[in-house]
């Protein structure tokens, strides 16, 4: 059995996951990522998520530039960035963020600047929330792994 410390952390992690699912922030594709992780690729999830953060921040910066820092508003280019963000967000199961991107993209199709500005703000806000929650999740998972390893120091990998 797992040590009490890691039990509580496991409960914490599940509670957070359930909350994120309930809020519609994450969907089952997030869980599928975990199914792709195994001994041959033990850090797959964190690698993908970190890539996602890196890629998304670039895209969000580009969107902000295109919408706010330039005089001509290249809605076409915004659409291209959004397509990429939609793709990668749905791949990692970031459901709520994907939905916001879709709304943003609809606004670009109508060259609706106020709509785009609103959408960008919501998107940036959601991205921050998602990033914080995922970091929290990883942190709990790390602590849980440490606690379990400490309890059973000879046990290789309890995953």
């Amino acid at each position: 059995m797992l040590g009490l410390g890691s039990d509580l952390l496991w409960a914490d992690m599940n509670r957070l996951l359930r909350l994120l699912f309930h809020e519609g922030v994450l969907d089952e594709h997030f869980l599928q990522l975990h199914h792709l992780q195994d001994e041959s690729s033990p850090n797959f999830v964190s690698e993908v998520i970190n890539m996602y953060f890196h890629e998304s921040e670039k895209l969000l910066n580009n969107l902000r530039s295109l919408l706010i820092h330039t005089h001509t508003h290249d809605y076409n280019k915004m659409g291209i960035h959004l397509n990429q963000l939609i793709g990668s967000s749905s791949s990692i199961g970031a459901k709520r963020l994907t939905t916001l991107c879709l709304a943003f993209r609809a606004a670009t199709h109508h060259s609706n600047r106020p709509g785009c500005l609103r959408a960008l703000e919501m998107l940036e806000h959601e991205y921050c929330y998602l990033k914080n929650k995922l970091h929290e999740l990883f942190h709990i998972e790390q602590q849980r792994a440490l606690a379990a390893a400490a309890r059973y120091p000879l046990h290789n990998n309890n995953q």
């Binding site: 599928q32 690729s41 690698e47 793709g87």
Partner: protein, 233 residues
């Protein structure tokens, strides 16, 4: 050369998939999905790179084409929305090539747009997957790829790889009858397998595969049906 693996006493070759996607995240995910499904994977970030690898790009001069050996692949899976050359453009280029038109091409897209799907299937795409790609999608893809020997999986019993080039005919006929939503009009071909190490195409290699067992599942899994179910999984 394809890697040869031995499992359960049966020698089978890994299928080689060329994956094309401009998103770094999606490339990593599709690569993992394919590797976990026992495929050899080459991933590129654009249609142009894909064509270069295959040896289909127009940049090469005739002298280069004499000794250029393109990548041998059993399936190409590509994203639809890509800057520069779209997945659709890539599909057309591949289907327009006498050397490569037999390679099954699968299109992925985060958007479920029926005219787009129709267009791709009409152009010869083998399948259209709405992203995000699932493990079950990849398992289905393996049916489109031919290997020199059949993989028999007693436990799974659902989706063994087919026989060699000759076996491919029977495999395709089976899948044509089972997958009623398959709109592909490419005729079954007796052309030799594209994989380099398949020296012979045993014509009697394909005893009935377990596909009849899995046909109801496959029919449900067919892309058109999935879309019409409006995301019900």
């Amino acid at each position: 050369m394809n890697q040869v693996m031995e499992r359960d006493g049966i020698i089978s070759e890994e299928v080689h998939v060329l994956a094309v996607d401009d998103s770094l995240v999606d490339r990593k995910v599709i690569e993992r999905l394919l590797k976990i499904s026992s495929c050899k994977v080459t991933v590129v970030d654009s249609g142009i790179s894909a064509l270069q690898l295959l040896g289909l790009d127009e940049q090469r001069t005739t002298s280069e084409s004499d000794d250029f050996v393109g990548l041998k692949v059993d399936l190409i899976i590509t994203d639809y929305c890509m800057p520069g050359m779209t997945g659709y453009d890539l599909l057309k280029k591949i289907k327009g090539s006498s050397t490569f038109r037999e390679i099954p091409v699968v299109i992925m897209s985060s958007e479920n747009i029926l005219p787009r799907i129709d267009r791709c299937l009409e152009e010869g795409a083998k399948d259209f997957i709405v992203k995000p790609v699932k493990l079950s999608d990849v398992k289905r893809l393996k049916n489109y790829m031919s290997t020199t020997t059949r993989e028999v999986s007693a436990a799974a019993g659902g989706f063994g790889g087919g026989g060699g080039g000759g076996g491919g005919i029977n495999k395709r006929k089976l899948s044509d009858t089972i997958n009623s939503d398959d709109m592909s009009s490419s005729p079954p071909s007796i052309s030799s397998s594209i994989t380099p190490s398949s020296s012979s195409s045993p014509s009697d290699s394909s005893s009935p595969s377990p596909s009849p067992l899995s046909s109801p599942i496959r029919a449900l899994d067919s892309p058109i049906r999935r879309l019409k179910m409006s995301g019900a999984d």
